[in-house]
């Protein structure tokens, strides 16, 4: 039997099942060629949900304002493409930097508070930004949305085609890199200290952890990733509207994450994909009523499966193992 130290180290190694989302994503590229624009949207929302999981699931920062960073990233990438350059990779970098800057600055204030105050402040930041984007119509296009987002080919070679193939692979590659980074982060001592803060902040202070700096760091990183997600949306749809900064998007992304399961990295993948596919299918079946079914499902999950879909799978596997 391996020693406890070995066992603990092994728990953080990459397992084969963690490659499953990527196999599915590549298979979907070939299998659902007609749905690639929905596919891109799903990948973008997965990245957004992943960024949220870092703060909400790992560090335990309960926020309802994460669309602030998604929106800032979308506008930054959109405005950059419309006025500076249509080069996509530098556009994503600009989106990440802009969102990180807003995340850092707002985090300085917000992370001094806790609980309901913190929640209200995250909402307030989003509302402020949304109103600012609305008023600054000379640069954002205001309520009409940002027009004139034209993208150059990626690396000067791969054009964004009308079937959305390039866009899908572009989003997939970006998400993959972000996942590599996020996975490394949550399995590092830093990631473990975030879990420590979530589990017991008093004790983290008492063992000398610079709690506020850790929180600000992850909040900034998470904002950057959300900004990249927003940037991807702007670049692949070549449009930015005020809804990127809306409450609705902040709420939806929390719901997606809760669907999948928070604090487990892959909840973002399962939750965002399920939610987007359900929304797409239900909207076809019940154009008016689809929200009801999503709401009902959410109530069931929250009441009977706090760990989301992945939590349910965990439980099922565990009881299977016990029966054997």
């Amino acid at each position: 039997m391996p020693s406890p130290i070995e066992t603990l180290i092994l728990r953080h190694r990459l397992r084969l099942v963690e490659l499953l989302p990527w196999i599915v994503a590549v298979a979907a590229y070939f299998g659902f060629a007609d749905y690639l624009s929905l596919g891109s949207q799903i990948l973008i929302m997965i990245l957004f949900a992943l960024s949220l999981d870092l703060v909400l699931g790992y560090a335990g920062i309960v926020t309802l304002g994460h669309s602030a960073f998604f929106g800032v990233g979308a506008y930054a990438a959109g405005i950059y493409a419309a006025h500076v350059s249509g080069e996509p990779l530098s556009g994503l970098l600009i989106a990440a930097i802009a969102a990180a800057a807003v995340g850092w600055a707002s985090g300085l204030v917000i992370l001094r508070t806790q609980g309901l105050t913190l929640l209200m402040l995250t909402l307030a930041v989003t509302a402020l930004l949304a109103e600012a984007a609305n008023k600054a119509s000379f640069i954002t296009g205001g309520a009409d949305g940002l027009q004139g987002v034209d993208m150059n080919p990626i690396f000067g070679v791969f054009r964004f085609d009308m079937f959305g193939r390039t866009a899908y692979l572009y989003c997939l590659a970006t998400l993959f890199l972000a996942w590599l980074f996020a996975r490394r982060l949550v399995h590092s001592p830093f990631g473990q200290s975030l879990i420590g803060i979530r589990e017991n902040v008093t004790r983290m202070h008492a063992i000398g952890s610079p709690v506020r700096r850790r929180l600000l760091t992850i909040y900034t990183i998470s904002a950057a990733l959300a900004g990249i997600a927003g940037g991807l949306l702007a670049q692949t749809t070549q449009f930015v509207g005020l809804t990127v900064l809306g409450f609705q998007r902040s709420g939806e992304i929390v719901i997606m994450l809760v669907f999948g399961g928070i604090g487990r990295l892959y909840g973002a993948f399962v939750g965002a994909a399920l939610y987007m596919i359900m929304q797409d299918q239900l909207a076809k079946l019940e154009p008016v009523f689809w929200n009801f079914w999503i709401g009902l499902l959410l109530v069931m999950l929250v009441m009977f499966a706090r760990g989301g879909v992945l939590g349910l799978i965990d439980q099922a596997l565990r009881s299977l193992r016990r029966q054997r």
């Binding site: 130290i5 603990l8 590092s188 473990q192 589990e199 202070h205 008492a206």
Partner: protein
């Protein structure tokens, strides 16, 4: 010799309520010192002032001769101040080993490492595990803390504090709430703490206090009533008076 920890004129008010009144206290290097006093005497407040959870209204706190009054909790910990809590304050969802690793990691300044995996600094895990062996909870290394019996959780409290390799260790009622069958293990652990650590223990259990402490300070209504050796304290008339209503403890 410089005391390991010292407070000078330490004072704390909550409005009109004085919870720490001009406390001048010295904890010598390697001390085995007990702080006793009736409920509400301000013992835990005193600990919170020393660790920085509370700011004093007046007065100074020195650690190893250095004034730390203005420093945040984390800076005091890195200067050698460790504590346990009266009520278990643990990372309940994490395993015992992970609980202690967090402390060892912060102490070795690798707690903020982002781009290496847990275990790439093996020494952190090994130090944490060695502590579990010393406290005889290594068999439970991978058990989530919330699944442990209360007595063992108290040991994890101590293990986390020891993971910081403190020069000053504050034990806030380490045996509180532990059934007497299990408390012997905790007393053993406290007896065997390294000699170079200065230990301040808050305790209601007089048997433990008189077995462990070589000096005792009695705190009443936020102020020091008397300080002395166990024999002096046991013979002191004022102390007996304070504890009159609670003689079952004495």
């Amino acid at each position: 010799m410089t005391p390991a920890m010292e407070t000078i004129g330490l004072h704390r008010r909550f409005g009109a309520l004085i919870v720490a009144n001009e406390i001048n206290f010295r904890l010598e290097a390697g001390a085995r010192h007990a702080l006793i006093g009736p409920n509400g005497a301000g013992k835990t407040t005193f600990i919170n002032l020393i660790t920085g959870r509370l700011a004093p209204s007046e007065g100074r706190i020195l650690l190893g001769g250095e004034d730390v009054t203005a420093l945040p909790q984390s800076a005091r910990v890195s200067r050698g101040l460790g504590r346990t809590f009266q009520i278990n304050t643990l990372f309940k969802g994490l395993s015992v080993l992970e609980n202690v690793c967090l402390a060892v990691g912060e102490h070795s300044r690798s707690g903020g490492d982002m781009l290496r995996l847990i275990g790439s600094r093996r020494i952190v895990l090994e130090q944490a595990y060695a502590l579990l062996e010393r406290l005889r909870i290594a068999d439970d290394a991978l058990v989530p803390v919330k699944e442990l019996p209360y007595g063992k959780q108290r040991l994890v409290e101590i293990a986390i504090a020891l993971g910081l390799e403190p020069a000053v260790l504050l034990l806030d009622e380490p045996a509180a709430g532990v059934p007497s069958a299990e408390s012997a293990i905790i007393l053993d652990v406290i007896d065997q703490l390294p000699r170079d650590i200065a230990v301040l223990i808050i305790e209601h259990d007089m048997e433990l206090v008189f077995r462990f402490a070589r000096r005792i300070t009695v705190l009443v209504q936020g102020g020091i009533l008397v300080e002395g050796t166990p024999a002096e304290i046991a013979a002191d008339a004022r102390v007996r008076e304070v504890y009159l209503g609670e003689r079952q403890h004495v």
